[in-house]
Symmetry: C2
Subunit: 374 residues, 2 copies
């Protein structure tokens, strides 16, 4: 854990600095016409001091790990990204390069030079669309240096890991970055690691991923695929089906949005965002294996008794079933309530701040009436 | 729009204050061991100056409107909250009181004194559980001052508005606050307003709601109920049914959470949070009217052809249907993608900051290994 390192003998200087900052923040509030009571400017000063400390921590972290990195391993062997021009490939390219790994790209047109590109590679990352993964892995047969770590970043793991084990006799690691191309950084994200062969050889790469601020979760390829059936395939299917139904119902989305509270707006955004993305990705995740199809059939069939209960207007049975699910969620239900409430407030504050900025920008044209007719 | 009011002749003092703040922020970063380049501490200073300005604006806003308010309408007639001890009732109680409205509460045990409590009331707000709303409105028959504005805050509107029109000959307004008891404030929230009788008499109340920072969206009771069928009843049903299915599947939620990226975690939280709340509220929203039942039946039936497509592994058809829905969402799909991406990054940053704080707290026990076994 990197901690903010205090300079020798600077505690007193920090106290002086803090007192000065507090005074200036209070002064500025008064100058801006807000007759702030002491308690209010104190609270704001605490927030601002925390922000400066976090920023300092961030700057230290950004500077340190790579320095330590290059000290420990003076030079990384080249990493070859197969499919480096795709969304995930480009993200990995930038991240590796910033961390001082020599990066080479093997794209569709480069196969005639593949042997040359792969020569001396320490790590080979297959980052191609899910439906191409296995054939691309097979195309690497005989081209990989014996000691190179072969890995992939596909969202299913059993098939690709099995193919990599077949094609390569050296170290193998299956990876699944659990995020899309729209994240700002890897910090706080999850990489699932499904071990293939020679876990020790994968360690430098996993260590690099942790230095990027991501969490590495180790799990077997089978366990991964089973859980992803629920996390991805089923959830994507329900979102997809909801979108299809909504589009057939064809309500005016601008009316729906007008009438939506922040939480419904967020839920609608979670549906709409799916359809801004590549349908092939979702088709391939949902159709990845027969187990997913079974899961989805189970879900669709489970709705019949719920519908029957609604049609019978059986309020008591609804409450009984509801409470059974609450037991299943256990302590997580109130924890989720609290956490999502916090998130919604955060989102709400940020939206209000943006709206403030917007309305300040076009204040001259605004009539100040915030009422809307639907 | 309230703007931050600069004190006379203080521009120069503000510049001095800003220069001093910038210097101190840079100094503090260096003291904390972050050898910040000028550009970095400049960027941080800009963020902090913006934060102080917003805070000043907030303090001014919090102080001003009520002053203006009491100037225009020296005294409000009392507002009676019927059901003032419930979640929404308590929120309204606090908000009215802070804004200088005399508040009286009419709770279950108070009906013998109802005539006295309602005497001289200017506004009567019915804030009781949805299944009690109409009977409570009917219990007010003959007790209301002729000029009092009668309103309710139930999540369905046609029934309550119709009942209020029947019971009261004075002004009537249906309201639906589109948020739960876990919001930090009304700022940025939506109140739907379904006009009943004498819209002019409702204006002071609507104006007060706008001063609380909420948006008032006017729409007929019928249009409201139709839209809420989609926004609330159908969405709650799908969330409920997903929770029921998940609990029967019975996966270990801690494994699911370990493997979840921020977006799946948020989606799971949106499901779990439902079950932390009152099942009667959700039963009553879903069972509010036969139109909702029809809508839900339509949805459940719509899943059969989607399942058939998945079972036939018809990737091309999936892509075709997907693209039809994308057309329906139109410009909103990429806008939702962008906005939800921004929200997720915001959430991610906040979680990472909290995790930093947590890990600093228990740093001595931490082994620094962020890898987890599932």
């Amino acid at each position: 854990m990197t901690t903010v390192g205090l300079l020798e003998g600077s505690t007193e200087a920090l106290y002086d600095n803090e007192a000065e900052l507090r005074r200036l923040i209070g002064e500025r509030l008064i100058l801006l016409g807000a007759a702030a009571e002491p308690g209010q400017s104190e609270a704001l000063a605490d927030i601002i001091l925390g922000r400066i400390a976090r920023e300092a921590g961030r700057l230290v972290k950004a500077a340190e790990p790579e320095a330590a990195d290059s000290a420990k391993t003076p030079q990384h062997k080249p990493v070859v990204i197969v499919g480096g021009a795709g969304g995930m490939g480009r993200q990995l390219h930038r991240a590796f390069e910033r961390s001082g790994w020599p990066v080479r790209i093997l794209e569709q047109g480069d196969w005639p030079q593949a042997a040359e590109i792969l020569k001396g590679a320490g790590t080979v990352v297959v980052s191609v669309p899910i439906d191409k993964t296995i054939s691309v892995i097979e195309a690497l047969t005989g081209l990989l240096p014996r000691e190179a770590l072969l890995c992939d970043v596909t969202s299913v793991k059993a098939g690709p890991v099995e193919a990599m084990m077949r094609v390569h006799r050296g170290p193998v690691a299956g990876l699944h970055p659990m995020f899309g191309p729209d994240v700002a950084s890897f910090a706080g994200q999850v990489f699932v690691y499904a071990p293939g062969r020679d876990a020790a050889a994968a360690e430098p790469l996993l260590e690099q991923i942790r230095r990027w601020g991501a969490k590495v979760v180790t799990c077997s390829a089978e366990e991964h695929d089973r859980s992803m059936g629920i996390i991805q395939a089923l959830r994507h299917f329900t979102t997809f089906a909801y979108g299809v139904f909504l589009s057939k119902l064809n309500p005016d989305l601008s009316v729906i949005l007008q009438l939506s509270s922040p939480i419904y707006r967020l839920e609608l955004e979670m549906v709409g965002r799916l359809f801004a993305q590549d349908p092939r990705l979702y088709a391939d995740i949902i159709l990845a294996n027969p187990r997913n199809t079974q899961l989805i059939r189970g879900y669709v069939e489970s709705l019949a008794p719920e519908l029957a209960m609604i049609e019978a207007r059986d309020r008591d049975e609804f409450i009984r079933r509801f409470e059974r699910v609450r037991l299943y969620f256990g302590d997580l239900a109130p924890a989720f309530m609290k956490e999502s409430g916090r998130m919604l407030n955060l989102i709400q504050t940020e939206r209000a701040e943006r709206a403030d900025v917007m309305s300040l920008k076009d204040a001259p044209e605004s009539d100040g009436n915030t009422s809307s007719q639907v």
